[in-house]
């Protein structure tokens, strides 16, 4: 394996994906068609049809040429590749620089025995993989196996032997899907599916789908008549609100199923220097992540899971989480004991340590001020609205009730954040506890993954020398972690950011006043 393999081409299916890049060429036949429609020259259009055929042939030709020119050779040292029709590029990505190597196999690729291989480094766009190759399953598996080889010199000997494995229970994955799915994503998925199907297969299918869904909805309303009746009469919901509730419920169900299918059959294994994750039913995925490229682990909890004392662990690494179907959960759902045991097995370096710095009791309003506004304003506006517009009273009251839920939920999260947020350090690893919108995060990262430590102090915080801490961790995009109201000096000390000569930190008037106070008033006291 030491000598470079001969260059090979990717699977011919790649031609269809390359066709996408030349779709803009269809603009010419389209423009010609529009001109013909406007001038009414059908015969002229037919006479010039050869041009449209030529353009389509050109598109196919370019895609085939692109596929033919793109060649690669992968060995344990890295990936050599050549690409580009007009601007020829010959590249080499060293294996050391590949942070995440992953494969994906959607269900339709299974019978064709094809896999999509993604190569990700620290460079280039944070939203797109650096290189995507469509390969036969055997070739993709062979490349993935290179990362697990015990003989792999980098980053250490025996880096490939499996140290620990973890297979979560089905119930854990069901819980993860249950708590992390939100209906909005489901609704987005349905609308994207319908609009995309319309784009790809024409408006007929789109119209057909819409009519099928409308019929289904009518039947569902009939079938779910008791539920609809319950919502309408028991909760006195207006029909429009019942409709919205049903749509949200349906969306949530779809999102739940999608998450379940994305994370099902999750299998995580740890070698000395890498983490290997496999899973997914609809899209089979496999990731190989070097430990040094793992930015942080995130123990994420919602208010409900905090109450049930359930934990789920997510990871952030360069190259993961770029697509919606990516797996980012390492431990789907577990009790505290099980979660800690699994973490000790898979990631013994990442230890959750108890808080060393925490916000003071007087800072409660800093945590509660954001959710307090909607909590006060929504009920007040609902009352005013239903009083001023009695005709719309029922709908306004319902809308107010619906809006109050997230507002009070947010208040609960912030209250919990106030009670639990803080910072600690153990060796080179930091643990930050904070909240972001509706989630409580406990994030562990190593010192070498810190990109920027931003300590800021507002005018109100100057009195008791407190500060807000925002830490950006090293990744392709920006990942920031924010804790409110910690002590200024210990925070700087914890990040080794104490300035040797901080003479410009304190305002001169403060110093002058202090000096005046010490030299005049304090000195005069003993003499008097």
């Amino acid at each position: 394996m030491n000598k470079p393999l001969p260059f090979s081409r990717t699977h011919p299916i790649a031609i269809f994906f390359y066709l996408y890049r030349f779709l803009y060429l269809l603009l010419f036949p389209l423009l010609r068609g529009v001109v013909s429609v406007l001038t009414g020259g059908l015969l002229d259009w037919l006479a010039g049809a050869w041009m449209d055929i030529l353009i389509i042939l050109l598109m196919v030709g370019l895609a085939v040429l692109k596929w033919s020119i793109f060649q690669y050779s992968f060995n344990k040292n890295g990936l050599n590749y050549t690409e580009g029709i007009f601007f020829r590029q010959e590249g080499f990505i060293p294996m050391k620089r590949i942070c995440t190597l992953s494969t994906q196999q959607p269900f339709w690729m299974v019978p064709l025995k094809i896999k999509k291989l993604r190569v990700d480094t620290l460079a280039l766009s944070p939203n797109k993989a650096d290189l995507i190759l469509y390969l036969s399953s055997a070739a993709a598996d062979q490349i993935m196996a290179l990362r697990r080889r015990p003989s792999l010199k980098y980053p250490g000997k025996n880096g490939g032997s499996v140290k620990a494995e973890c297979r979560p229970r089905l119930l854990d994955i069901v819980f993860l899907s249950l708590f992390t799915s939100n209906s909005f994503i489901g609704i987005l998925f349905i609308s994207a599916f319908i609009s995309q199907s319309g784009k790809i297969l024409g408006n007929h299918l789109s119209e057909f789908l819409i009519s099928v869904l409308s019929n289904l909805a009518r039947q569902l309303t009939g079938g779910l008549a008791p539920l609809s009746a319950l919502l309408t009469f028991a909760f006195r919901l207006p029909p429009i609100a019942t409709g919205i509730a049903m749509v949200l419920l349906g969306g949530w169900l779809i999102a739940f199923l999608l998450t379940l299918l994305q994370t099902q059959k999750l299998h995580t294994s740890r070698t000395k220097n890498a983490l290997h994750i496999k899973g997914g039913v609809l899209v089979r995925k496999e990731y190989s992540i070097y430990m040094r490229d793992l930015s942080f682990i995130d123990v994420r909890q919602s208010l409900m899971t905090r109450c049930f004392r359930l934990y789920s662990v997510f990871l952030s690494a360069i190259g993961t989480g770029k697509e919606r179907s990516d797996i980012s959960a390492l431990i789907p759902f577990s009790s505290r004991k099980r979660c800690e045991a699994q973490l000790r097995l898979l990631l013994p370096e990442y230890v959750l340590t108890p808080r060393m710095l925490r916000p003071n009791g007087g800072a409660i309003m800093k945590f509660l001020i954001d959710p307090l506004w909607p909590c006060i304003l929504v009920p007040v506006l609902t009352f005013l609205g239903s009083w001023l517009l009695p005709m719309w009273g029922e709908l306004i009251r319902f809308a107010g009730l619906m809006l109050s839920f997230p507002a009070f939920w947010f208040l609960g999260v912030r209250l919990m954040d106030f009670l639990s947020s803080g910072l600690s350090r153990s060796g080179d690893y930091y643990t930050m506890r904070y909240s972001n919108l509706y989630y409580l995060h406990t994030v562990v990262f190593s010192r070498e993954h810190i990109a920027l430590v931003n300590v800021r102090q507002s005018i109100l915080q100057r009195g008791d020398n407190k500060c807000d801490l925002v830490v950006s961790t090293r990744s392709e995009g920006s990942n920031t972690h924010h804790i409110r109201n910690l002590d200024w000096d210990p925070t700087l000390a914890l990040f080794d950011a104490v300035d040797p000569i901080p003479f410009y930190l304190k305002p001169s008037w403060f110093d002058a006043l202090n000096r005046f106070f010490k030299t005049t008033i304090m000195k005069k006291k003993p003499s008097s």
């Binding site: 920027l452 300590v455 090293r474 700087l492 930190l505």
Partner: protein, 150 residues
């Protein structure tokens, strides 16, 4: 960097003020050209931009310059900044990818430039350095980041 702090050159304040002056031309032109002379709207807009101009000219930029300072210790590069918020930005040498020099025509006129320090996922600017200072700092940072990651 360990022993001394670096303050930006005073010329930076002049650069900021000239930039502010140029920015103030737009609202003054708008109020003079489009609004009725000494009407209520004219008064509101003129008062708005004059007050804004004075705030930035007299208070904001001088405070910003006063609080801006660059220093470092054995672990990280430290930038003190902020006007309303007092900020300390600490950048571990290990996370520094590269540092590059930038200068606008106005900065070049006054013989100063900015140093942009790039990390993976973040970037910070250090304005108001002379070319020699920036070059020296750039070399130091590259040297330290290489030393730290070795």
């Amino acid at each position: 960097m360990e022993q001394s702090a670096l303050k930006p050159a005073l010329h930076l304040l002049t650069v900021w003020r000239i930039r502010l002056l140029l920015a103030a031309l737009a609202p003054s032109f708008l109020s003079a050209y489009f609004l009725p002379w000494q009407g209520i709207l004219w008064w509101c807009l003129t008062a708005g931009w004059v007050l804004g101009f004075l705030y930035f000219y007299i208070a904001y930029y001088p405070i910003k310059l006063r609080k801006l300072a660059y220093s470092g210790n054995e672990h990280c590069l430290i930038i003190h900044c902020g006007v309303v918020y007092t900020r300390v930005k600490a950048i571990p040498y290990t996370s520094i990818q590269y540092a590059s020099l930038f200068s606008t025509p106005l900065e070049r006129l006054f013989g100063i430039c900015s140093l942009a320090v790039s990390m993976a996922g973040a970037r910070v600017y250090m304005p108001g350095l002379t070319r020699n200072q920036a070059k020296g700092l750039q070399e130091q940072l590259v040297h330290k980041s290489e030393g730290a990651s070795a």
